[in-house]
Symmetry: C4
Subunit: 400 residues, 4 copies
């Protein structure tokens, strides 16, 4: 079991910040890039003639490593805290369906099939490029990029419609204007679309250009439409990113503080004081908020989203308005439990020093917090009780 | 009447989220795209020679479908709640002038005229591309795009002036520098504008390039101006989008709460508490806020814009400071009325659970809300009374 | 004097929203565009050979109109409220130095000189393009554009340095790599800069491309640098616009309300209430805030900038913390004075209905406002007294 | 010693706003640009043949000047306040490792080595372009640009991965589609990458274009991917800039005021009043906040970051919650000490007039401030005491 745990830490665990974790990530990342470059070089006939065998060997070795990686990940996934309480089979089946594991499978399956069947068609090599997708695992911001694009999908779809319309319009008008002068390049709408695309995207190959006066005037207008065609998607995505990052470091408002049940009966003056002490933090789904055994430096209030707290023998889920992490502060000790973000969460943090200051000046608040903490310590009675396993199984894993 | 109502639901009704609504939208959308692609393929002589008849048939069938769609929409529009109380003729005349119906008419009229008259000139086929406009109905964000462009129209007009100036300047200077060396391409300003446009828009066909040393130095400067020419419109539209989305999820300020007459006499402490409970929501004009018969989960306060509430036999319009939706919460029942946004609206929502909590701790507030609700229930006496039909007729329909 | 006043209203006055004002603006704008197009057409030898005389006549007539416009503007400028109390000579000399008048002069002077001297060199025609600058008068957002560019000038200068560096680097490295293979195109750094510019700006004429393998690899990297070269200026200007528009509709904070001396002694509860009633408005320098004789719908508090109030026989300047426009509200009458923004101003508006509501519930505040108003009415004693004319003369005019 | 101090002021001191400072900056900046242009001109064989000697002389003289500048900067750096208390050797060694000095060294070292060894290889001239880096010293916003890029490095890395993937995919698919028709241009993936790069970056040289129908259809799709490839980096950097500038002019919240220990025991009403008086200011690391001997116009509260105050014979470091600059206000005198931002700082400013107003109405606050000031004056006892020199040595210098 020790080796399983160690492999889990090496391949999957925590914040990926230990030396060995970074090393394994870098090695696997380099192997992926090397694979893709090998595909490119292998396609040059002269190089393939000389080094063909080496490329074949490299491909097989890489395939073996990636298969091994996949199998090991599947084997050790039972150490993943959210999956720990499931049976091994269930945990693996569930884990195999997580997005990164599906990508890993897609990246190796075609090559595997090909090398098993023994066919080696040239165009099948392109499937090896799919290994690039495995890089997504090492760049969490790709997920952010994807979310921005997903949230702006309606606006981007509208842009695609507009572009399609501009393209058809430019090509159609040009066939009428220029069709007689250059029947080959502008004789039909599909032919003229090649010019229209090259112009609207400002690529401007120059292999086809209008030659009549009227064609040049209309062509000039189309180049300007090209500028507009750039402006819309860039503007939409830029606005999406600005919103995304504004959403990340949110401002703590009076309302957020007032909505915490613990503070419900406090004087407005005290409420304002607490509001001044709290700090904001957004975390993605699957983020490990507290690690058992770490020294505690703050307690948390949940503004949005859900948090799973994993104590020795049971698990509770907390939601908007709940707080946690107070026990370690009260007893000045280490974290007693793991805490994970089940969904994307917005948290308010009360730092250790501010916490102790507040406890001194607000005996009533101290009493309430101490009571909740005592109850939690003695009976394991948390505000929302145990979360049924079925429900947890329907929750997304990290990266979903 | 049953089939009319069912057709209305299918083609026009509600949130377009039922399976049959999405299906009809997808089918009509695909038909539009297929029509445009058919225009493109038909323009290729070889394809037209073989499949010409099929294209003609497809065009006629599509035209028939679109005409049918138009007629049906016009027939069932009397079921549209804001038009329900008008006479059928008035309602249809008014509905026919709504933007989407005008687009639909523009999309079919030219083909209709052509096929009736019997002329079939090649360039008339372009009018069939107008059918693409019908897609706007299925992409509400196109309207947002349009509004951003409209709001930034002054800045974009300024950019057009600057671009025009840069274009004229580049072309004029180039005729002087390069005119002698390449009289055909740079002999006059209109001729040089072809190069200037291709360069400023960074299309760069390369069919015309300066060849003298001085021409290349000035040409190099113009390419850099091209970069600047891109930066301005993109930046303006991006800023417009950022503002647009900031405007959408607005922050509830003390002032918005204090401006609600219902809260005018409350203590500041209670005001702050209420402010903490409210949530913000922006809705576009024509949005259906409450649907009769739905279960109620919140009540609404209007921060900006106007809302029409449509009860059995009469209609009232509410504005800034008014509230609605409280009856269903008080009596724990379903929505008693339809509510539509007459203009773009900013609403504050008080969720059901927060509402009941507040009613318990603030008996005075409960009393006031209950009084208003009782009056509304018994006499139909709403804060602003009935809205005259003439006024309503001058209001924009959905999408205007 | 009547014709002078009428001409002033027609050419310079107010908000440019009457039918005759919009008409004269449109006519002058069209004349400018027609002039520029004439320059372009005149440069085509064939057209010039046939219609040369007409172009000459059109140019002379246009020149006469623009000269007349300039003289009339100078004549009527004494009606401009901020200049009214100066002597006619002083007013005209000061007005002639305002930016728009300098532009107007620059736009006509070269043509005037040329037509007086009688020389008609071809390149002198370019000076006629300067008339385009006159359009700036009709597009106030060009000034906003200019300010954004000015405020981001440091960042844009940094971008220019980076671009210059990238350009030199690309060209230099390419001379080493490709110099031997294509000595004409890449033999020296200045020669290679033509390719580097076309590539970095993504114009890509294609008249010069690297042909060696190493040259293509490096060339490929340079195309990617081109993408980066676009990203920086666009991003800087977009951020500048976002800030500009955020600055425009500013949020009224507690601090802004608390800083108004009139509110200094009010209870915090009342302060919060007032803060909830105020609305924000930013106006550019030279903006006419109140027009004598207009019905009054609000009073103003100055958050930033300076405002000139122009009463019958004297003028006062108000600044941060001052208020004005209360007299018309108290006596329910029309504006008694003109009010101009001397600098860019941020104002808080208290609407008429809110004002009356507040006066009823806050008798103390009402008393204070009434006292100030009475004093202003009787003695013309305003908080800051008369503004010396010398100081006013050093203030910028509209558009500066 | 006087000349050392004067040279320090001239080359390094203060805000670079005196006439002589601006003059020396401009001269050195021009010399750098002239050097780079000389490298470009020298590379033209014809020019080099005639003026070669002059270029050599100019290069040697420039090198001498830059070397002299480097030596002088190193000599006078002991006058730099943060380094003053170190021994001369330590100060110089530390200063030599600051980023700008390393850049200066890199800019002259290769030329120095070459001219000492006596080799003059053509490609070594490129090292002279490194002198452009010296311009960074004169454009502080380049550092801001760099920070934005650094903060968005993860997102930009994700974009690079996506671009790499798109590039490989486009090239691979095109070899299959177009490889047979144009074996030279599309025969292998590396060959096709030249076309793919030119198309995705929208450079579009046009030397290689697909000619088959399928190749053109796929090529058209790739041009559209080029538009997307632009949108992502531009959007990311634009959002980064918007955040950067939002971070700069931060809003003073209740929390920031409440966190200042000096205000801890004040009534909320007074707290709100103070909050209304404070203004915000962000300063970069190394910024000189107060200059000894200057007239004082405000006192400072630190919201974030650390400030070093350098009094005659000792130095203290202040951090979040501390205040400084009150002594000069209390005694209406000049600044008694230099104050530097050790890290990037967020400060709240209390202007002189507001300070005196507040002191009158809040005698308790006045007493507390006066006490702290008296203690600081008599014993030099500052809230955090002396900062050990070792710690200071590990702090970044200006521009790091």
């Amino acid at each position: 079991m020790a080796i399983k745990q160690r492999l889990y830490d090496l391949l999957e665990g925590g914040n990926r910040s230990t030396a060995s974790q970074r090393c394994i990530d870098a090695l696997l990342g380099l192997l992926i890039v090397a694979n893709v470059l090998a595909v490119a070089l292998e396609s040059v006939p002269r190089i393939d003639a000389i080094y063909g065998l080496y490329f074949k060997a490299f491909d097989l070795i890489s395939l073996a490593i990636f298969c091994g990686e996949y199998v090991i990940r599947l084997w050790v996934c039972t150490e993943h805290p959210p999956l720990k309480r499931l049976s091994a089979g269930e945990a693996r089946w569930r884990y195999a369906r997580s997005p990164f594991m599906i990508i890993d499978l897609v990246a190796i399956l075609p090559s595997l099939v090909v090398s098993v069947i023994g066919v080696d068609l040239r165009f099948l090599r392109i499937f090896r490029l799919l290994r690039l997708l495995k890089l997504a695992r090492y760049s969490p911001t790709i997920i952010t990029l994807g979310r921005v694009l997903y949230e702006e999908r309606r606006a981007l779809f509208a842009v695609v419609i507009i572009m399609f319309g501009l393209l058809m319009l430019s090509a159609s008008v040009m066939t009428i204007i220029e069709g007689a002068a250059q029947p080959e390049a502008f004789g039909s709408i599909p032919a003229a679309m090649w010019w229209a695309l090259a112009t609207l995207s400002t690529v401007g190959y120059g292999d086809v250009v209008p030659i009549t006066a009227l064609g040049r005037i209309f062509g000039g207008l189309v180049t300007l439409l090209g500028v507009a065609m750039y402006a819309l998607p860039i503007a939409i995505i830029a606005a999406g990113f600005t919103n995304e990052s504004r959403r990340r470091d949110f401002v703590i408002t009076w309302g957020m503080v007032a909505r915490v049940p613990l503070f419900a009966n406090l004087e407005p003056v005290v409420l304002a004081k607490i509001g001044g002490l709290l700090r904001s933090k957004s975390v993605p789904a699957g983020y490990e908020i507290a690690h058992k055994g770490q020294p505690a430096d703050c307690m948390y209030f949940i503004v949005g989203g859900e948090v799973v707290v994993d104590i020795d023998d049971h698990r509770v889920t907390l939601e908007e308005g709940d707080f946690f992490g107070e026990i370690a502060l009260l007893h000045d000790t280490q974290r007693r439990a793991h805490a994970y973000a089940l969904t994307e969460c917005r948290l308010m943090l009360l730092m250790k020093s501010d916490f102790h200051g507040l406890m001194e000046t607000e005996p009533k608040l101290r009493r309430e917090i101490a009571e909740v903490a005592a109850e939690r310590l003695s009976k394991g009675d948390w505000s929302h009780g145990d979360i049924p396993d079925e429900e947890l199984q329907n929750r997304p894993l990290e990266g979903e």
